[in-house]
């Protein structure tokens, strides 16, 4: 018990002092282990966990999905996706809100980054909406809340990390399971959008002419094809997710350099370097979080937490509800990657004992932590979204709260109706 307390306290103190999250995790794990065993051995053990935590072929998909996303982003994909979405929903009153939501879902799925979606799609959409007389707080809130949906819609790096943390739940099944919950998240935000648009009398966009629609459609199709090639290859069992991610890079390079012609050879150095930065940011977090998770299990902390959870109730829905509350609370303060790596080994054994499918639980966890990305005080997506829109936090909050409620309702639906995540994967060949 003393160890648990020291672990949590040292982590929180380091975090509040502004020590980078990855280092805070690594340091508090080292402190706790050094209290237990010989210091020299403790240091070498942590060192070993740091390295072995990254020794996984499926983690390799992460740098490639990031790279493909960076290339597509430089290749001007944001504008194409916006024009594409406009063909379908632009003429409904408040249409630009739905354009923003759909473009964010597609961009997030393709680029794998919620922060990139907020700034890239928001950067184009927010000025457009302002010009059309949309209230700034509403458009900023919609842009923020919708940009995390791409993390649930495959391919998704965070689901790869969950697969690692869970000890090998099929990435393919997790990917496929994300479609319906992701689309429901989008729909729920659109419903709030419709209500607010009606209340505030938002204008619709004029219908595009047939030729405009035609060219917008075919300009975006090659980008969307990336999702189809990657997911088709994975679902069909042709590629592993890692191989598919490398194919995605080739597709993105081909598209941006030869078809769209917006990326030049000389841009590649910067794109590669940016990819290295994002990759090592995530993977160093994975590395220290895996070390932390090992120390936790060495101290038997997951076991004692599981026991106290089970003692609260043996009803799986009650337990899932409690876990959701805990995750929502931690998601407010914690980044997604360490949260998945640290909490999965704690909660997964409890829920699988009660008969919850690990795929279902992965989707619940990721959806839940997505909400944390757009809440104060530390949500990265929230702050990027605010700086893109130049609207203050207090101004977006009223609209944002409505959108949080919508997302939480979907989270509860996905929690209590397992079929929403498990129906599609049931068609996969086993």
């Amino acid at each position: 018990m003393a160890e648990t307390l020291i672990l949590i306290l040292s982590f929180l103190i380091l975090l509040i002092l502004g020590v980078p999250i990855a280092f805070s995790i690594g340091i508090s794990a080292s402190i706790v282990l050094a209290m237990e065993i010989n210091n020299g051995i403790a240091l070498a053990t942590i060192a070993q966990r740091l390295i072995t935590g990254l020794d996984s072929f499926s983690l390799l998909a992460i740098p490639f999905f990031i790279l493909a996303g960076q290339i597509m982003n430089k290749g001007g994909i944001a504008n194409r996706l916006i024009d594409f979405a406009r063909i379908f929903v632009g003429i409904i009153p408040g249409g630009l809100l739905y354009v923003n939501i759909i473009a964010n879902m597609l961009f997030g799925a393709i680029s794998g980054s919620a922060v990139a979606a907020t700034s890239a799609i928001g950067g184009f959409m927010l000025p457009k909406m302002k010009k059309q007389g949309y209230p700034e707080d509403l458009s900023a809130a919609v842009n923020i809340a919708s940009s995390t949906i791409g993390l649930v819609i495959p391919p998704s790096n965070i689901l790869i990390i969950y697969s690692l943390a869970s000890g090998g739940v099929s990435i393919t099944a997790l990917f496929v399971a994300g479609y319906i919950p992701g689309i429901l998240m989008g729909l729920s935000l659109m419903i709030i959008g419709v209500i607010l648009a009606k209340k505030r009398g938002l204008p619709s966009f004029k219908a595009p002419s047939f030729s405009e629609a035609f060219s917008a459609f075919f300009s975006a199709v090659p980008s969307i094809l990336l999702l189809i090639i990657v997911m088709g290859g994975i679902i069909g069992g042709i590629f592993t997710p890692t191989e598919a991610s490398a194919i995605a890079v080739v597709h993105a390079l081909f598209l941006s350099m030869w078809i769209y012609k917006e990326v030049k050879i000389r841009d590649l150095g910067q794109i590669f370097l940016d990819t290295v930065k994002t990759t090592s940011l995530v993977l160093f977090l994975v590395s220290t979080s895996v070390a932390m998770s090992w120390v936790l299990s060495y101290e038997n902390i997951p076991q004692s937490l599981s026991d106290s959870l089970i003692s609260l109730s043996s009803n799986k829905y009650v337990i899932l509800l409690i876990i959701n509350l805990i995750l929502l609370l931690f998601g407010i303060f914690m980044d997604m990657t360490p949260a998945v790596l640290i909490f999965t080994p704690i909660f997964l054994p409890v829920v699988t004992n009660l008969g919850v499918d690990p795929i279902h639980f992965g989707i619940i966890m990721v959806m839940n932590l997505c909400i944390g990305l757009c809440t104060p005080p530390v949500g990265s997506v929230l702050f990027v979204g605010l700086s893109v829109s130049k609207v203050s936090l207090s101004k977006v909050m009223p609209s944002l709260i409505l959108l949080y409620i919508a997302l939480v309702v979907v989270l509860l639906l996905v929690t209590f109706i397992p079929e929403l995540s498990l129906w599609l994967p049931s068609f996969l060949p086993s």
Partner: protein
């Protein structure tokens, strides 16, 4: 100090971009050898995993010199910048020296003594793991530089 820092940083950029390119080529070779040559390559799986380990640790050293590791800044925004930077990088310095350098070297030494070979490439695993102390040294140098820059910045 700052000059050495800049030289290392430039070298590191070249190595990191090279590693990512090599990683991409390796995985594409795996796809190519399986589909076109119909003889799946045996070394690519292991080699690419080791490349990723090198990329991640050297990349996180690079992030230290850029000061771009993500942190929570609610309280530190209120601290003055000089003291915040000195505090933050002193903590990182302690971690990199103790865990990454000392812990890392003793791990490498053990691995080499045990003569542990990797399964496909028959490589000494110790040499793969040496990236940890190397990154530790880089992180220490970069942290010291960040500290000294912050120190000087406040003096002038």
């Amino acid at each position: 100090m700052n000059k050495i820092n800049e030289v290392i940083k430039k070298g590191l950029i070249v190595i990191l971009i090279g590693l990512l390119c090599l990683l991409l080529i390796t995985v594409l070779w795996q796809v190519f050898s399986r589909f076109i040559l119909h003889s799946p390559s045996s070394f690519t799986d292991e080699f690419s995993r080791y490349l990723l380990i090198w990329l991640s640790f050297l990349g996180s050293a690079y992030l230290v010199t850029l000061q771009e590791h993500i942190a929570i800044t609610i309280l530190s925004d209120k601290l003055d910048r000089k003291h915040y930077v000195i505090l933050k990088y002193s903590v990182i310095l302690v971690f990199s020296v103790l865990v990454m350098i000392i812990g890392g070297f003793s791990l490498v030494k053990t691995m080499l003594e045990m003569n542990q070979l990797s399964s496909a490439l028959q490589l000494q695993v110790g040499w793969v793991y040496i990236v940890l102390p190397i990154s530790g040294i880089l992180i220490s140098i970069f942290s010291l530089n960040n500290i000294s820059q912050a120190w000087k910045g406040a003096k002038t």
